[in-house]
């Protein structure tokens, strides 16, 4: 009989080994899937994992990788604070959308202005505040009414989705857009645009902020008292209370951090790669970031790598879908497999597998 025995400490070796193993397992399973569909498995795997980084057109894909990963990383870093403390904000998607709406709203309200020094910082503040307020709703309800933050934050995602859809055909519709849905394109509005800072590198303000967030989070968790409190609250709420951690304050702070960063990610996206408030703006980043946070083991460096890995499967997957005529659905299944194996194999980090004879427990 197979038994799992909890390790006293997560295994260092397996922490590094499991992600690699998971990717290998996924490649094998995915290869079988692709072969089953009559596609060359090795070519598909190479197109997804290798070509975007080292292939013929890597000069184009590498910057795209950064652009795609930045919002995922930024949101996931924010979420990791709460997740470590046992505070489950799963409404980052909604906070991301509201951040975009608020940031774009500021830009559009001042249209057309050339005062970038004023507008862009203002947009950043609005984006952060938008996401923060959207996250503060479940936080305050949890503190004062003990409602479940998982569910409230999830409900608010739907509300945000309705709002952005309605705004894209109503309040924020581009008056010069020939009656089509969608706001003005912020990329064509120099004062508000979040463009590449160095041409063809993919580096925009969102990428820089994401890297910065990783570093700050790393320092916080490693050295700062707050990082310690967060961890303690997650591991043992009672011990945290004895240590003088105010749980209500912790809820509010963690939700604000995750909401603010999600809102910020939304703002950078709407002013940059996306450009417009559109019904199709919500691209599941907020939910994907939850997965990124867990794949990264809630560790800032881990999140950085997990974000890049997921971005790679998106970009490589699209490439495979186009160059090999793989159905988009097959790529989705492949990504699902990757997530499953990454999550499952994590068991090796925290548990030891023991084979032993069945006996009376």
């Amino acid at each position: 009989m197979i038994r799992l025995e909890k390790r006293p400490q997560p295994s260092q070796l397996w922490t590094y080994l499991t992600p690699v193993l998971a990717v290998v397992v996924t490649m094998v399973l995915g290869g079988v899937l692709f072969a089953f569909m009559g596609k060359a498995p090795l070519e598909a795997i190479r197109t997804i994992f290798w070509d975007p980084i080292f292939g013929e057109f890597a000069f184009y894909y590498r910057p795209e990788l950064l652009k795609k990963a930045a919002p995922l990383i930024l949101i996931a870093i924010g979420l990791s604070f709460g997740f470590r403390a046992g505070i489950w904000n799963i409404g980052a998607e909604g906070q991301y959308i509201i951040g975009a709406i608020c940031g774009a709203g500021v830009a559009l309200a001042f249209y057309p202005t050339e005062a970038r020094w004023l507008i862009f910082p203002l947009m950043i503040v609005a984006g952060i505040l938008g996401g923060l307020i959207w996250a503060l709703i479940p936080a305050l309800l949890k503190v004062y009414f003990r409602t479940n933050e998982i569910l409230v934050s999830l409900m608010l995602v739907y509300v945000a989705e309705v709002l952005i859809k309605a705004f894209s055909v109503g309040l924020m519709r581009n008056p010069e857009g020939m009656g089509f849905p969608g706001s003005r394109n912020l990329r064509q509005y120099p004062a508000a645009a979040n463009l590449e800072l160095i041409a063809n590198t993919g580096i925009h303000w969102g990428v820089i902020t994401a890297v910065f967030a990783v570093i700050v989070a790393q320092v916080f968790f490693a050295r700062h008292q707050f990082g310690f409190n967060v961890r303690l609250a997650g591991q043992s709420p009672r011990a945290a209370t004895f240590a003088g951690v105010d749980p209500s304050r912790l809820v509010i702070i963690c939700m604000c951090i995750s909401g603010g960063l999600a809102g910020l990610a939304g703002l950078y996206e709407v002013a940059g790669p996306s450009g417009q408030i559109l019904g199709s703006f919500p691209a599941y980043y907020g939910f994907t970031a939850i997965i990124v946070a867990f794949l990264g083991r809630l560790n800032p460096i881990g999140i950085l790598l997990a974000g890049l890995l997921l971005a790679l499967t998106y970009i490589g997957g699209d490439a495979a879908s186009s160059s090999m005529n793989l159905p988009a659905a097959a790529i989705q299944v492949f990504q699902g497999m990757l997530l499953f194996s990454l999550l499952s194999l994590d068991v090796l980090t925290n548990y030891r597998i023991r084979l032993k004879k069945a006996q009376v427990a």
Binding site: L4, K6, W88, I90, I137, L141, F145, R146, T147, N148, I150, L151, V152, L154, M155, L156, Y158, V159, V162, L163, K165, A166, V169, G170, F287, I290, I291, A293, F294, L295, P327, A328, A329, A330, I331, Q332, V333, F334, Q335, G336, M337, L339, F340, L343, S344, D346, V347, N350, Y351, A361
Partner: protein
């Protein structure tokens, strides 16, 4: 205003059936302390399995059975990971949705735009002749009755049976239940499979009755609404029916209001159920979530 309330209420019953089915399954899962956010993935798997089976056999009944099996099978993936490998439930559930939506699209590729299987209406003799109530309640197909019956059965199970009591105890405090010798993992596994089967049935109701055809992404977010309804109902089967019909009702009502030409900003109306859910959550903050909802359980011996 020329909305016929009888027809509207009857339509709401039909429109609400998929979410009611998925929600009653998820309710049991959550009462056992497991949060499965993959309802959408299981629903759409059920939708495609139901359609394929019904098509190959020519029988809608077999189709629904196939849907339940398909939904349950895909849910075992989640169950194994969450219960035995102790993965995070939130992340695993989200992954399940991603996987399920892709899998269903892949499976259904050669069934798109295939003809429909007729699911006959089954008016209940006698009852269907009652004025007003008859057309609203008793002139539907069997699945509509089944969905309501299932809610009643779940209610009886949870409140009147010993097994239901154990399931709730496990949901409230898995460690304590384990200490008392209850099979935490087995119960949770079965609960997740029941949830998968119900979600599968709900999905098949969309692809076999409500639309009826197979198209990618046909459930279009119904699974997420089912999650909302469970919360709205504060984990009680009786309120679940109200919640499902309220959610389904707002959708049907906003379409009807539009047709009458009334000037109501309907796009905002469609977010009202979610806000109502939050208000209910706050108002019923005493009727809280099962104690160990979402927490992993490891039997340390």
């Amino acid at each position: 205003m020329d909305i016929n309330p009888i027809l509207l209420l009857a339509a709401i019953m039909v429109a609400s059936t998929p979410i009611l089915l998925a929600a009653i399954g998820e309710l049991v899962v959550e009462r056992a302390g497991v949060l499965n956010l993959g309802v959408e993935g299981m629903m759409i798997t059920g939708a495609v399995c139901g359609f394929i089976v019904a098509h190959s056999t020519g029988s809608a009944t077999v189709g629904f059975i196939g849907a339940a099996v398909g939904g349950a099978l895909v849910s075992t993936l989640f169950a194994v990971m969450v219960i035995f490998l102790m993965t995070n439930q939130v992340a695993t559930g989200l992954a399940l949705t991603l996987f399920g939506v892709g899998l269903a699209a892949l499976m259904g590729q050669s069934y798109v735009a295939e003809g429909q299987i007729i699911v006959p209406k089954a008016p209940i003799p006698g009852l269907s002749e009652i004025p007003v109530l008859g057309p609203i309640l008793f002139r539907h197909d069997l699945v509509v009755y089944l969905s309501v019956a299932l809610v009643v059965l779940v209610w009886l199970f949870l409140t009147r049976s010993r097994a239901g009591l154990i399931l709730r105890a496990i949901g409230e405090n898995a460690e304590a239940a384990h200490a008392l010798g209850h099979p935490v993992r087995l119960v949770r596994f079965l609960a997740v499979m029941f949830g998968g089967a119900c979600a599968g049935l709900g999905g098949a109701y969309v692809s076999l009755v409500r639309v009826p055809q197979w198209i990618d992404n046909i459930t279009a977010g119904a699974g997420w609404i089912a999650l909302a309804i469970v919360v709205f109902a504060s984990w009680r089967p009786g309120r679940l029916i109200i919640g499902a019909y309220l959610f389904g009702g707002v959708t049907a009502l906003q379409l009807n209001i539009q047709a009458t030409g009334l000037a109501i900003p309907v796009e905002y109306l469609s977010m009202s159920p979610y806000i109502a859910t939050i208000i209910v959550l706050v108002a019923l903050s005493a009727g809280r979530a099962p104690g160990s909802l979402g927490k992993p359980f490891h039997a340390s011996s």
